[in-house]
């Protein structure tokens, strides 16, 4: 089931390289077949599993055995983690766009590193002209300029 993650990853990489576009297509085909309860007929999953196991064999045959035997279960864990992080990421992006705070409208803005940190424009700032801040907008503290 790792083909779901592979599809997203290769889909993004495929924007830049034909090699990954082919893999993205292959993984999409695999995802589609899996969600329609068919057997994945590309061997992408098998390839990922074998490469992973083969590489682990170099360091720890025991760990390789564990991964090989529980590959499907581990795949589902990774997919679940991937989906959860995707949902949380989307939620954060929505909050950031709507409330300037990815943690949510009522949360402490310091919890979100993306929260905009507006600089208060000093009255001596040359951008302040006739009490109106040209670049910073309404949040500037420029009323006293004049």
């Amino acid at each position: 089931m790792l083909c779901l993650i592979a599809w997203v990853v290769f889909g993004i990489l495929g924007l830049f390289s034909v090699k990954y576009r082919v893999l993205a297509k292959e993984s999409f085909d695999c995802v589609f077949r899996r969600i329609t309860f068919k057997k994945c007929n590309s061997n992408l999953d098998e390839r990922i599993k074998s490469k992973l196991t083969g590489n682990l064999m170099k360091f720890s045959p025991k760990m390789a055995r564990g991964v090989y035997r529980h590959y499907e279960f581990l795949s589902w864990i990774f997919v679940a983690l991937f989906v959860v992080s995707l949902v949380l990421g989307a939620q954060g992006a929505y909050n950031l766009a709507m409330y300037d705070n990815c943690a949510g409208p009522n949360a402490d803005p310091d919890q979100c590193i993306f929260t905009p940190d507006y600089d208060v424009v000093d009255c001596d700032d040359p951008l302040c002209d006739d009490g109106h801040c040209e670049e910073c907008g309404d949040d500037c503290d420029c009323e006293e300029c004049s």
Binding site: K51, N55, K58, R65
Partner: protein
């Protein structure tokens, strides 16, 4: 006895990378002499052979003649004109299938697609193997009288089993049938003498005998080739033409249409010379010895069990591709997996495929040990 360490120094790739190469039945590595010969063509006389009378052209014409002569010696042919350069063994077999006059053909049940598909449009039958996967000579003797040509693999790319070709050829000739041997897996690994075998046609590829890709050979007895019309026509195949007729060239040129793969032909000549210097009897013994050292239980051996340079197997519960990929990822051991272009054989036995390790002159016992160690690990997964 071969000095494998010395031989490995002839192959530049061993100095650049660390790997174990056991996919030799598909394609072996190339020695420096072959690579140098290809470079020599492009850097010293990059011209057309047989038609240009300048310095480069005449030098190349001589080099091609020399390569043809080396190949002639390599397989023990009588005359150089019995050596036709083709693209590969597949094209050589197709040439016979399309140019030789016959109605019916008999093959074995362990043919590569190259020696099966070209015959399927004709009256075609197969000789089934015995239970131990050896060739059934009795069944062959019963069948062969009904066929004009017998086209069989000499050494199988499945597990390296060699058919009793001497007997096959003798029986076929007694019954009036001609014999074509697919020598793609035998010519690079064992001494072949076409005159001693009395074989009518022999097809093989350059890329399986340390030569370049895209070049192969069809050997045919002169009298048979003389009676055949080419199935590809073009430049160099004719000595004269009008708007509605042509006069064919003599052998071997009438079968070599268009500009030839000159670097390939020259490289093939060098490969033949290199293999003759080492001696294919030595190579065969070395490969048999390597395979005999594979001692592993719980692995299902595929095909006939006996002396050869190919180890074909499946690990119960593991896919053939899985095994190949794990070997590659763990110790960079390169083997082949799948149906090995022998789908008919696997389909008839309801098998999906197998893993295949094939050895050649540069493989070592240490490599076999590593391979067995890794297989043991995979088996326990």
């Amino acid at each position: 006895m071969m000095n494998v360490e010395k031989i490995r120094k002839d192959f530049p790739i061993f100095e650049k990378k660390k790997f174990i190469y056991f996919d030799n039945a598909c394609m072996p590595l190339r020695p420096k002499v072959v690579i140098d010969k290809i470079n020599e063509y492009y850097t010293e006389y990059p011209a057309c052979a047989g038609r240009s009378y300048h310095d480069f052209g005449t030098r190349l014409t001589d080099e091609v003649a020399n390569a043809r002569d080396l190949v002639k010696k390599f397989i023990g042919a009588k005359k150089a004109k019995e050596i036709i350069f083709t693209k590969n063994a597949t094209e050589s077999i197709n040439l016979v299938a399309n140019s030789f006059k016959f109605n019916s053909v008999l093959t074995s049940d362990r043919e590569h697609n190259s020696n099966l598909l070209p015959w399927q449009k004709f009256d075609h039958d197969v000789v089934k193997s015995k239970k131990d996967f050896s060739f059934d000579l009795e069944s062959f003797s019963d069948k062969v009288k009904n066929f004009d040509i017998v086209s069989m693999v000499h050494t199988s790319n499945l597990e390296g089993y060699s058919l009793p070709v001497k007997e096959i050829i003798k029986i076929a000739h007694e019954q009036g049938a001609k014999v074509l041997l697919d020598g793609a897996q035998s010519v690079p690994h064992k001494e072949i003498n076409v005159r001693k075998l009395d074989v009518d046609f022999l097809a093989f590829s350059g890329h399986k005998m340390l030569g370049p890709n895209g070049v192969g050979v069809l050997y045919g007895k002169e009298e048979l080739l003389d009676g055949m019309k080419p199935f590809i026509l073009g430049g160099e195949t004719v000595s004269d033409s009008t708007y509605d007729s042509y006069k064919l060239e003599e052998l071997p040129h009438k079968f070599e249409a268009g500009l030839q793969n000159y670097p390939g032909i020259l490289g093939l000549g060098s490969a033949a010379k290199y293999l003759m210097k080492i001696g294919r009897n030595n190579i065969e013994k070395h490969e048999n010895m390597l395979k005999s050292k594979i001692d592993i239980e719980g692995v299902e051996k595929i095909g006939h069990v006996g002396e050869s340079g190919i180890f074909n197997f499946n690990i119960p519960g593991k896919g053939a591709h899985e095994v190949a990929m794990m070997l590659s990822a763990s110790k960079n051991i390169m083997i082949r997996s799948g149906a090995h272009c022998m789908h008919s054989w696997f389909n008839s036995r309801n098998l999906e495929g197998s893993a295949r390790a094939s050895f050649y002159l540069y493989n070592t016992l240490e490599e076999i040990d590593t391979f067995v160690e890794e297989l043991e690990k995979i088996k326990k997964l």
